[in-house]
Symmetry: C2
Subunit: 416 residues, 2 copies
DNA sequence: GCTATTTGTTCAGTGGTTGAATTAAATGAC
DNA sequence: GTCATTTAATTCAACCACTGAACAAATAGC
C-alpha cells in the first residue's frame, strides 16, 4: 500500500545532537557543496571550502561513493603543476525521484535523477473535470508505473515520489479543496492504497508526498533556475497560486496553506468572487478574466492552450488582448507590491501560463512595484519568467524528492 | 568605539561541523530547554526530553553553570520516592541585554536578564522631531550609561545592546529612512562612535545592533507572550509597521526591510500617499487618519497620548471614535486577509497603539478575515493584543540580545 | 532499619574529527 | 632523463565528546 503525507514537519534542527549526528551533518554538508558547485570539486577544494580537514572529507566522500550518491569524474585535464584533482559529482545512476501532477486538463509523470536531469517525462492530456477522483488517480498510477519501468531500465532507484494537485492539501495528504478540479475532501492516500507500492520509506518520509502544485513548481524553480534564496513564484493556471521560497526553503505556513495569492483582495469593494470575498486577484488576472477581457470568453479553449493562444495574439498586437494583459499585469502588480512591502523579496518569477506572457505582464507589474513599494528605490525587484515549462510542478515534485536526499543523505545511506 | 551592525546574517546552520560543534550544539539544546521549561527541570528530565544521556547532560550543565548561565534552584520539595531532583534555571546574575529605543516622542532604555526579567527601565519623554540625530543619540547614550550603571549595581554583565528605530535600517546599521522622525541616511554607528564602548563582542556579534522597532517589538512578543512559532505583529505607532515571525525566527527579508505593512495598498485607486503610492493602509489606519476621522485632528496630542485618549473615548462610546475605529479595523482586516492568504498564519498580534484598542479593532478585522481568507473555515485566525507595553521595542531589543546568547551559548562561554 | 526508587556522577569504551606525516601523481627545470 | 617542486589524497596516532553501565546519593514507604 502506498503511504502518503502532505506536509512534512519543519523538522527543526534542534533534536538531540548525538555522536553519529556529526557524521550525518558532515555528509549533508559535503554532499550539498558537491551539488551546488558549478564544476566537480576535488576533495581538497571541498576541505578548503567547508573548513573540514582533508582527512575528514576523504572519509565522508568514501561513504557517499559507497552509497552511490557521488561518483568520481573523469581524470581531469587540469592546468598547472601538482597531482591532478579527481573531481566529484552527483551520481547519475543512484537514487531518483518520481514526480506526478494532476491538473485540470492533463496528467504528468517524470523522473529526475540526483543531478537534476529529467530522465523520463510523460504528459497525458485529457479533461479531468468530468472524471471521478478515483479514476483520475487510477490513470495517474498507470503513468507512474510506466515511469518506474523506464527508471529501472536506466538503472535508477526510485527513492520516493511527490504528487502536485491544484488545491489545498492537509497534513495527511488529503485534498481538502481543489476548486478548478471540482474535488472536495478527496482521500488521495486511500485511493492510491490499492495500487502497488512505489518503494520503501527513506529517512522516515513516506514514499508519496502530496502537495500543492504551486509549492512544487516554486521548488522546481528553486533548484532548476538560477533563482536566489528568496523569491515569489506565481503560477498562472486556471486559478492563481504562489509558492514562497525564503532563504532557500519553501515556506508552507502554519497549516501548509500558504501562497493563496489568487484570493488576495485587489479592490476590496470589487465584484464578488466565488470564494466569498470581493475583488480578488483571480477576478482580474485569472485565465477566465483575461480571456473574457480579451473578448475570447466563449472560445472554450483547453486551459493549457489558452496561454499559447494569448501569446500568439499578443505577439500579433491584438488590441483587446494587449489591453487585457495590461489590466491583468496591473492587478498582479498591486498584489506583488503588497507582497514585496511585506516580505522584502527581490525576485518574482512568473510561472505557469504567465511565463510566456511575461513580456507583456512585466511592464505593468514593475510600474506598480515602483509606485507602491517604499524601498523600491534602493532595492530593485526582478520580474522574470519561469525557466521550467508547463509541467513545472511535476519536475519540481521529482526534484523535491532528490533534494531531500541531498539535504539528508543519512537516511538513504542507512537504508543500504 | 561602538561597533554596529544592522542585520546579522541568517547564519545558516550549514557551516563546517567540527568536533567542538557537537558540544556547542548540545549546550544550545540543553540551555534552550531550560529556558523554555515552565518549571526548573532536573538533569534527568532534560536527558529524557532531549534524548541525550544523563552523563552528557551533566557535563553540559556543568559548563553552563561554570559560565554563569544556569543556576541550581533551591532543594526541591518534590513528592514521591527517590532522590530529590535539583532543578535548573536560567541565572539571574549572568549576562544581560541592553535595549534602546528612539521614537518620535520618547527615548527608552531597559535591561533584561537571561530569565527575561526587566531589571531596569527608563523612559525619557520629549519630542525628538526638532532634535538633530546627533543630539538625540547623545541623549540616548546618557540613558544607556545610566542603565549600565544600574546593571553593574545588580551584578549583571551587559553582553550586548540593540537599538530600535522607527525606520529602515541597512546592513551596516545606517538608518536609511525614518519618515516620522525626519531622518534620512543617518550613520548611527558613526554618531555613536564617540561614546564609550558598551562591551566587547560576543560570538562575533558587535555590541550594538540597530534594527527596525517593529521587528524588535515582534521579537519581544515572541518570547514574552505565549505567542506561537509564527505570527504577524502589527505596531500601530505614528506609522504602521509589522514584524513577521516564522517558525520562531524573525523574517527580515532579502535586505532587512520586511514588514512595511503601512504601505500595502488597501484601495489601489484611493487618495495619494506621501510614499508615492495610492490608498496605502496608513491612510486608513494610521494614527493621523484615525484621529482625523474621529474629529480630533487639531487636538495636537503627543503620539503616545493619542491611543490613550482614543481608548477613553471609545470606552465612553463616542460615536465618531467608534466609527473611526471600525473603518480602521476594516482596512487592517483587508490587509491582514492578504497576509493570511499569502502566509497562512494563525495569529495576529496588535501592538503599539493598537494594543489597547484591540476590543474595537478586532471585530472588523475578524470579519474581513472570515470573508476573504479561503482557508478561514478550517483554520481560524486569532487576533489578540500585545502583552508588552508601549515600549515593547526596547524590551524586545534587550530580549534579542539575551535570546541570542541562549541560542548560541558557545560564544559567551568562550569569552570567559 | 531495610528496600524500592529516582537522581546524579564516575569511568572505560567508542565513533569521528584533527593534524602531521606519508604516499601519489603530475609539471617543469636542468 | 632525472630530480626538485607542487598539489592531491591517504594513513595513523591523538584527542574530544558522547555512550552505556555501574555506582553513589538521597528520599519515601514499610
Amino acid at each position: 500500500m502506498w503511504q502518503c503525507q502532505g506536509v512534512k514537519p519543519p523538522a527543526a534542527p534542534a533534536g538531540a545532537v548525538r555522536q553519529g549526528s556529526l557524521r550525518e551533518l558532515n555528509l549533508a554538508l559535503v554532499l550539498g557543496r558537491i551539488a551546488d558547485a558549478r564544476r566537480p570539486p576535488s576533495r581538497a577544494a571541498l576541505a578548503a571550502d567547508t573548513g573540514l580537514t582533508r582527512a575528514t572529507v576523504s572519509a565522508v566522500v568514501e561513504d557517499l561513493v559507497a552509497g552511490r550518491l557521488v561518483t568520481e569524474a573523469d581524470p581531469t585535464p587540469r592546468a598547472g603543476a601538482g597531482r591532478p584533482a579527481r573531481g566529484l559529482m552527483l551520481a547519475g545512476n543512484g537514487p531518483a525521484g518520481l514526480g506526478l501532477e494532476i491538473n485540470v486538463d492533463y496528467l504528468a509523470a517524470c523522473v529526475v535523477d540526483l543531478a537534476g536531469q529529467v530522465r523520463h517525462h510523460t504528459v497525458h492530456r485529457s479533461d479531468l473535470r468530468p472524471v471521478s477522483p478515483a479514476d483520475a488517480l487510477g490513470r495517474l498510477a498507470e503513468l507512474a508505473a510506466r515511469a518506474r519501468a523506464d527508471a529501472d531500465a536506466q538503472d535508477l532507484t526510485l527513492a520516493g515520489a511527490a504528487l502536485g494537485v491544484p488545491g489545498l492539501v492537509d497534513g495527511s495528504g488529503q485534498v481538502r479543496l481543489a476548486p478548478n478540479l471540482g474535488w472536495r475532501d478527496v482521500p488521495v492516500p486511500d485511493l492510491l492504497a490499492q495500487h502497488p507500492p512505489l518503494t520503501e520509506t527513506v529517512d522516515g518520509v513516506p514514499p508519496l508526498v502530496v502537495d500543492n502544485e504551486a509549492n512544487l513548481a516554486a521548488l522546481g524553480e528553486l533548484h532548476a533556475g538560477a533563482a536566489p534564496g528568496s523569491f515569489l513564484h506565481i503560477s498562472g493556471e486556471v486559478g492563481i497560486g504562489a509558492g514562497i521560497v525564503l532563504n532557500g526553503a519553501l515556506f508552507r505556513g502554519t497549516r501548509g496553506w500558504s501562497g493563496e495569492i489568487g484570493h488576495i483582495p485587489v479592490r476590496p469593494d470589487g465584484p464578488p468572487c466565488r470564494c466569498g470575498g470581493r475583488g480578488c486577484l483571480e477576478l482580474y488576472a485569472g485565465q477566465e478574466a483575461i480571456l473574457s477581457a480579451a473578448g475570447l470568453a466563449g472560445a472554450d479553449l483547453p486551459a493549457d492552450r489558452a496561454s499559447t493562444r494569448l501569446t500568439q495574439l499578443a505577439a500579433a498586437e491584438h488590441p483587446a488582448v494587449l489591453h487585457a494583459l495590461a489590466e491583468a499585469g496591473t492587478a498582479i502588480g498591486v498584489t506583488v507590491a503588497s507582497v514585496v512591502n511585506l516580505l522584502d523579496l527581490d525576485t518574482v518569477v512568473l510561472g505557469g501560463g504567465y511565463a510566456s506572457l511575461t513580456g507583456w505582464l512585466r511592464p505593468p507589474v514593475l510600474a506598480e512595484i515602483e509606485r507602491r513599494v517604499l524601498t523600491a528605490a534602493w532595492s530593485p525587484v526582478t520580474v522574470r519568467p519561469a525557466t521550467l515549462g508547463a509541467t513545472a510542478a511535476a519536475v519540481g515534485a521529482a526534484g523535491s524528492v532528490v533534494r531531500r536526499i541531498i539535504a539528508q543523505p543519512g537516511g538513504w545511506l542507512a537504508r543500504l
